[in-house]
Amino acid sequence: MGSLFFSNTEKNFSEKYNNIFVPVNEETKPVENKETIKLSEIEFPSYGDQFGELIIEDCQINTKLFFGDNDIALNNGVGLYNGSAIPGYGKTILIGGHNNTYFNGLKYAQTGQQILIRTSYGNYKYEITDVQIKNYNDKSAYDLAADKENLILYTCYPFDELGLTPKRCFVYAKPLSSNIQIDKTK
């Protein structure tokens, strides 16, 4: 109950973000040639941390990936929605960004293009399967409870529009390959 009103440390109002991203080699296994890594072995990001990068070469997107989608994250890159999973965990990964800045390139997104997500614990390749325009409150746009790994990128639509728009562009992708998966057992 106390933590509802008081934090464990003094408040930090810095506009700077914490970067825990250290790239790993794309080809080699990051942890002693293992196929999986335990969740407890990962340096799990705190809300607002940069923990990776997202690259879509065909869309000219190469941006920082943050854990959480607060203003600091979206002003500096794209953010993983806090209720979704991290790459490699075998669930839905939902990543948002602004349509006028870091996700502006999503206007070039097409089926078959590849997305690369690099984190400190592994690298993950996905392939775009679909691009859809939906309303911001359309719950059918994503399923956070899905039991298979799937990546969804989203941004406001139309692109390059002045003002805030109620429509969203959703880019769906399936996993292609990765150099490590997360072992969900403790």
Partner: protein
């Protein structure tokens, strides 16, 4: 019952009665201190405004509002410079003062966004002209949604949480505070007078007065000391710098008032203790 046993019983009852009177004095002095602190802090508009000025609330609020609008502009295809033009600390200070004034008058603490909205639309028009953006191709619906979101963020920033909820209670509670404070002061004087004038020996009257003052000193000092030593105030979960600094400054100010009153009570305790010892030795020497 013999005269001696009656006299012994009387001598046992008297300390209990005076002990109770000392306890009552301590309690009344404690309440008096609390009400005097409340009157000069929580129920005082000047105290709130002075804390806002002291903690740099207005300028921090201006920065935060600019950051909020920059982020919103970033999401809406607007340059960072957009937010710089129509947010300034003078306007914010004026709006905040009106807001606080409404709070202490028991009015609904609503932030008027009419002017802000007008400024925003004018700034958007100017922005489109300056950047050669075709207005006919820009969706008015999207601009309206942006302005609506900006106003929402503006109201959230300028408002103080729970103020609209407690405004009426604070206003109603502030009315009888002066009467209660005067009544408590009168009660403290009456109890002190009873202790002073019904005791035959001077050292005893000072002893019971000392008990009352010391008890009040301990109770007035205890709560702020425990809270300050726990360091909880600086760990309060407030997410904006302006509000956090205001809260910490406001709470520390209240505790300072508590310490001022506890210092007065400490001096009173010390004086009555010195008088008690002096008269006690006099009484011993006489006997």
């Amino acid at each position: 019952m013999s005269y001696n046993s009656h006299s012994r019983q009387k001598s046992k009852v008297k300390p209990i009665i005076y002990g109770l009177l000392s306890f009552m004095l301590a309690f009344v002095l404690f309440l008096l201190s609390v009400f005097m602190v409340l009157e000069t802090t929580v129920f005082s508009q000047d105290y709130m405004l002075s804390k806002m000025a002291e903690t740099g609330y207005y300028s921090m609020l201006e920065d935060e509002l600019k950051t909020e609008l920059k982020s919103l502009g970033n999401a809406s295809g607007l340059d960072e410079s957009f937010a710089e033009d129509f947010v300034n600390s003078l306007d914010i200070t004026e709006i905040e003062k009106q807001y606080i004034s409404a709070f202490y008058c028991g009015d609904k603490t609503l932030v008027n966004t009419t002017e802000f909205k007008q400024q925003l639309y004018a700034a958007l028009d100017k922005y489109m002209d300056d950047n050669g953006i075709d207005k006919s191709k820009t969706s008015q619906e999207n601009l309206d949604y942006f302005v609506e979101q900006a106003c929402e963020r503006y109201v959230t920033q300028v408002s103080i949480p729970f103020f609209s909820f407690v405004a009426n209670y604070i206003y109603n509670a502030s009315k009888p505070v002066v009467i209660i404070t005067i009544s408590l002061a009168a009660a403290a004087l009456i109890i002190s007078a009873i202790i002073a004038f019904t005791n035959k020996f001077k050292h005893r009257r000072y002893r019971y007065l000392c008990y009352g003052c010391a008890g009040a000193f301990i109770s007035v000092t205890l709560v702020p000391t425990v809270v300050l030593l726990s360091g909880k105030i600086s760990q309060i979960n407030i997410n904006t710098r302006s509000l956090y600094n205001l809260f910490v400054g406001y709470a520390n100010g209240i505790f300072m008032y508590f310490f001022i009153y506890s210092a007065i009570l400490l001096v009173l305790s010390f004086v009555t203790f010195v008088l008690y010892r002096r008269h006690y030795y006099k009484a011993i020497n006489h006997s």
